[in-house]
């Protein structure tokens, strides 16, 4: 055992922090403090800055535009981005599709699709969930039938994040109706401008539009847009979902939430002084902090474990489950720190600095998006594998029950 952090890791964190402080545009950083969902133009602008430095996708192989950083360095990089309130990047392209294309895409697919992702020029959506295929993803029904050198796609995807921004969507589709469910699924890249693709917004509880339904009606997709082999889509999807196994802990987001709570609770007044000094609130914050530290040290244990290390797998299995719970709790405590204004509705977007009407009288950049965030985070224990499913996985795969 050795708990010291190597000097070169300290130096690396300093280098990343210095870069972000120098390069993150002030207006984007301010909107980041608002906790709004990131705007596409902000993300694109920031991606170009990162890309110029070669830092768009550190987790990709170096020869395809990534870096040769260690898992710990990649974690520190993400941690610093969150600490600085940088825009949340296009996760679908960078974190989900990118690694799949790097591993299983043809050279043509890599050359065509990877550079625009790195530069923030092309936005991707993930077409996985369907109305009757949520936790049970393998029961998906969207079908792709071969017709010469095209697939004809018909079906519906739902809860599709940022599909209204997306230029392309990577979708799981059923290409074989006969074999067992997992074996009939293929991984297809679909241009969102193809005739027959329509999208409909889903307005979420925070009053924002980030989610969508996507419909496919006789959509013609060239066979060359198939990733890997037909019928292997399920294994690519599993690869994608486990690629960065510490990301789902969202621990860097929650660490930043703790700082925000401390800031807001220091400003908040009560009859007996600042809220942060009242014993009941201080105890809640201390409890949250302790749990976030335990989560972060769990992340560090996973980052230092080999891929096949059973101890690492045991810790990794809790990251999404506990990470999503803490994420919800942190956002609720931030809303609580706002006192009366914690129940006020705030818009979850901003149009060029023009504040919409009917806002509560809070103008601190740290405060304005808090209540919307607290509402949206309620979904964290449902999406990406509901907590019930996570617990079943732990029982089966770790405890062997």
């Amino acid at each position: 055992m050795d708990f010291t952090i190597a000097p070169e890791i300290h130096a690396f964190r300093g280098e990343v922090r210095g870069f972000i402080e120098a390069e993150l545009p002030a207006d984007i950083a301010r909107r980041g403090r608002h906790d709004y969902h990131s705007r596409r133009d902000d993300v694109a602008r920031w991606m170009k800055i990162l890309n110029k430095h070669g830092w768009s996708a550190p987790h990709w192989p170096a020869h395809l535009g990534g870096t040769d950083w260690s898992p710990l360095q990649r974690y520190i990089f993400q941690d610093e981005l969150r600490r600085a309130r940088a825009p949340v990047l296009d996760r679908c392209g960078l974190d989900l599709l990118g690694p799949v294309l790097c591993a299983f895409g043809t050279p043509d697919q890599q050359a065509r699709h990877l550079p625009p992702i790195l530069n923030g020029d092309v936005w991707w959506a993930q077409g996985f969930s369907e109305p009757n295929a949520g936790s049970d993803l393998a029961s998906l029904k969207t079908r792709a039938d071969l017709d010469g050198d095209h697939f004809i796609v018909n079906g519906q995807k739902t809860w599709t994040t940022e599909a209204h921004f997306a230029d392309w969507i990577f979708a799981l589709v059923r290409t074989d109706q006969v074999v067992k469910p997992q074996a009939g699924i293929s991984f297809l890249l679909i241009d969102m401008t193809t005739p027959g693709v329509t999208r409909r917004p889903i307005w979420s509880i925070d009053g924002a539009h980030t989610l969508n339904e996507v419909f496919f009606e006789d959509v013609r997709v060239p066979v060359s847009n198939l990733v890997g082999q037909a019928g292997h889509g399920w294994s690519y999807a599993k690869f994608l979902l486990t690629h960065e196994r510490t990301t789902s802990s969202v621990v860097s987001h929650t660490k930043r939430d703790v700082e925000q709570i401390r800031y807001l609770a220091t400003l908040a007044k009560t009859p007996s002084g600042p809220l942060i000094e009242t014993p009941a609130f201080a105890a809640k914050l201390a409890r949250l902090e302790a749990e976030v530290i335990a989560l972060e040290w769990s992340v560090l244990r996973v980052l230092h474990a080999g891929e096949g290390d059973p101890a690492g797998n045991s810790v990794a299995s809790l990251l999404k489950l506990r990470g999503s719970e803490l994420s919800e709790r942190a956002a609720l405590l931030a809303a609580e720190a706002l006192g009366d204004y914690g129940v006020a509705a705030m818009p979850s977007s901003e149009t060029d600095g023009v504040a919409p009407p009917d806002l509560p009288p809070i103008d601190d950049d740290e405060a304005v998006g808090v209540s919307a965030k607290a509402m949206f985070r309620r979904a964290a224990t449902i999406y990406g594998g509901a907590s019930e499913v996570q617990r079943t996985i732990i029982a089966k795969s770790v405890l062997g029950l």
Partner: protein, 312 residues
């Protein structure tokens, strides 16, 4: 003890549920919520005509002589349907505060008009620094001739944007007083906003506004307000019990329909256990609500148990 509803109380509960069934389809609620005021004045008059606003007011004060049980029955029914009309604000908080204020011609007329659904009154009491402490009032009342002028900032005033009159607390040397102010008077500013559930609220700044009428002189205003808050806590908890109860039923029905992994969600023990836990929470909430109602007249401190358990 008897925890069953009397025939009269049962008929009130049935009547509320018929009202909600008739008026509160998903679509009509949604369009009402999206309207300028966020509720329907027509429905507010219906609620008044049904005698519900005055249900928990003594006959002496122009009501129908009921009590907290009637308030809870109404609010539980409203909670099931997420009713938007300002019953909590105008029909409980302002009404019960006024009911405990000293009798005067102004007070009596106001009560009569509220019960008739003619006037909406909003209680402007809470302040940013109070953090839930009902006795913390920084707004000040200063003598101006025979009357008073007020200065201060009131936060999260329920239904302030649609209020015809504001019932404002402010502190003078003798203690907290209760004053009537018109929202459009000189030196009153309001910032209207919405709550997370779409409710309409406002912050109010009083900058030397001249009081129209004194409802309770300084030193006598706190007790009526505490009374109004106690009563509205019963209302909020009953509303939450209604909403929880409806949510539990909706979820129970849905998990029996939705299929994943070749079974209905209701077949999974993990889901069954969560549903059972929710039933336990609901029943305990109802129990502590009843305890709160029992202590409303005698032991105001008991109100906090309901708040701690039901609205957490």
């Amino acid at each position: 003890m008897d925890f069953t509803l009397s025939a009269e109380q049962q008929s009130l509960a049935d009547s509320v549920s018929r009202f909600c069934e008739r008026e509160y389809s998903f679509g009509s609620r949604k369009s009402r919520l999206g309207s300028t005021e966020g509720f329907s004045h027509d429905l507010w008059r219906v609620i008044a005509d049904l005698g519900w606003i005055g249900a928990a007011l003594s006959e002496e004060d122009g009501g129908f002589g009921g009590g907290p049980v009637d308030t809870a029955i109404l609010m539980e029914g409203f909670g099931r349907a997420l009713v938007l009309e300002p019953f909590l604000s105008a029909g409980i908080l302002s009404l019960q505060t006024l009911a405990r204020a000293p009798r005067s011609a102004v007070r009596d007329r106001l009560l009569e008009d509220i019960v008739a659904g003619k006037v909406l009154v909003a209680l402007a009491h809470g302040e940013v620094a109070a953090n839930g402490d009902a006795e913390h009032v920084e707004a000040v009342a200063a003598h101006q001739g025979a009357g008073w002028t007020l200065k201060g900032h009131k936060s999260l005033v329920l239904n302030a944007p649609s209020a015809d009159l504001l019932l404002v607390t402010a502190r003078a040397e003798a203690g907290i007083g209760l004053f009537l102010v018109a929202p459009n008077a000189n030196n009153v500013r309001m910032q209207a906003y919405k709550t997370l559930d779409g409710g309409r609220v406002g912050d109010i700044w009083l900058d030397g506004v001249i009081v129209e009428d004194t409802i309770a002189a300084p030193g006598t205003g706190l007790e009526p307000v505490l009374r109004g808050l106690d009563y509205s806590l019963i209302g909020i908890c009953a509303e939450a019990v209604g909403a929880m109860s409806a949510a539990l039923t909706i979820t129970r029905d849905y998990v029996k329909l939705r299929r994943q992994f070749g079974a209905t969600l209701s077949d999974f023990q993990a889901v069954q256990h969560r549903m059972s836990d929710m039933l336990v929470e609901l029943e305990l909430s109802r129990s502590v609500l009843y305890q709160g109602m029992a202590g409303l007249e005698s032991l105001p401190a008991q109100r906090s148990y309901s708040r701690i358990l039901v609205t957490r």
